[in-house]
């Protein structure tokens, strides 16, 4: 935690992304064989949980710049929903179906929410930086 009590939002966000990416690689590496979906589901659930916990921890930060967070998050969400839709389009174009399609679609949803929150957090945490420029928090956030 830093001086203002920020949770390790970036680290946890990157962990959530890593879990999603690992699930995608796991499924992609088995094409066209039958893929046991258990590991991919576990990775997806773990990623969604980390995302939820991360946001919950952030709500506990006092005087966080939520208006700035939502201002950035909504536009970033629009952009990343578009990229997620592009990937989904490629999956559908290649006739992906069944369990793998459901898991990859949900993974894309987590990705499309996770990345905008990372961008919005990084912007919002420095929103009033001119007030505390002399005491920057530790690196890594």
């Amino acid at each position: 935690m830093t001086r203002r009590g920020y949770p390790p939002f970036t680290e946890l966000g990157m962990l959530a992304l890593a879990l999603i990416v690992a699930g995608g690689i796991y499924l992609s590496a088995h094409i066209p064989q039958h893929v046991p979906l258990g590991p991919a589901i576990a990775l997806l659930v773990a990623s969604a949980l980390v995302l939820a916990i991360n946001l919950a921890l952030l709500t506990r930060v006092s005087d966080f710049a939520w208006p700035r967070f939502f201002q950035v998050a909504k536009w970033a969400l629009l952009a990343y929903l578009f990229t997620a839709a592009m990937i989904e389009y490629a999956f559908l174009r290649d006739h992906l179906k069944g369990g793998p399609l459901v898991i990859l679609t949900l993974s894309l949803l987590v990705y499309a929410v996770q990345v905008p929150t990372l961008i919005a957090f990084t912007v919002a945490r420095w929103d009033d930086s001119s007030a505390d420029d002399a005491d920057l928090p530790a690196p890594g956030h």
Partner: protein, 195 residues
């Protein structure tokens, strides 16, 4: 702890965080990409994948290993001016180049059958997934947020130089790591193209 005081005003050119005119070019590339995937023809798919991949690799290598150290040695005003001109363009260029490269690459590998587990060089293909995955996590989790946050800081009436320096360091170091990882991509892709 030093007493809090408003940072001095920092001269910088006016700029848009997301250059709106550039969005037209992005839209053109995206429409072309969608059409290319829909048509599923070899030449356009290879064009998007090779041209996009080359641009991605070169930008990462150049930014991380050449431009980054140069920016680090610039004076603060010069760095701020350079940043306000470079970073808004990067907000549009990198996501577009990466999306075009990966989407066309996946479609190309589906068309050629190189993403099937029966493909003789399947291990190399999976290695490329892993390298791209790690690069995506770094780019999306560290680089892109730092890029946007620097621009928001520079938009303030009194930007905080220390915050800009910290975020730019993160951006440049991250670009350097991605540049080195691009070397792994080059090794894998040239191996696959030669097999």
């Amino acid at each position: 702890m030093a007493a809090s005081a408003p940072p001095p005003a920092m001269p910088r050119p006016d700029f848009e965080i997301v250059p709106r005119k550039g969005l037209i070019l992005v839209a053109i590339v995206m429409v072309a990409l969608i059409v290319t995937i829909a048509v599923n023809s070899l030449w356009p798919l290879q064009f998007f994948h090779v041209a996009g991949g080359a641009a991605w690799t070169i930008i990462d290598l150049f930014l991380g290993l050449v431009l980054g150290p140069i920016i680090g040695r610039m004076s603060i005003p010069a760095r701020v001016e350079f940043t306000t001109r470079l970073m808004p363009k990067m907000v549009l260029i990198m996501p577009t180049v990466v999306t075009a490269t990966l989407a066309s690459g996946w479609q190309l590998s589906t068309k050629l059958g190189t993403n099937l587990s029966s493909y003789p060089e399947h291990g190399w293909v999976v290695a490329s997934f892993i390298v791209v995955g790690v690069m995506a996590i770094l780019a999306l989790g560290l680089l892109e947020p730092a890029n946007i946050a620097v621009l928001f800081e520079l938009k303030k009436p009194r930007p905080n130089g220390a915050v800009i320096e910290r975020l730019m360091k993160r951006f440049i170091y991250c670009a350097g790591v991605l540049g080195v990882m691009q070397l792994a991509t080059l090794i894998i892709m040239t191996k696959l193209a030669s097999s």
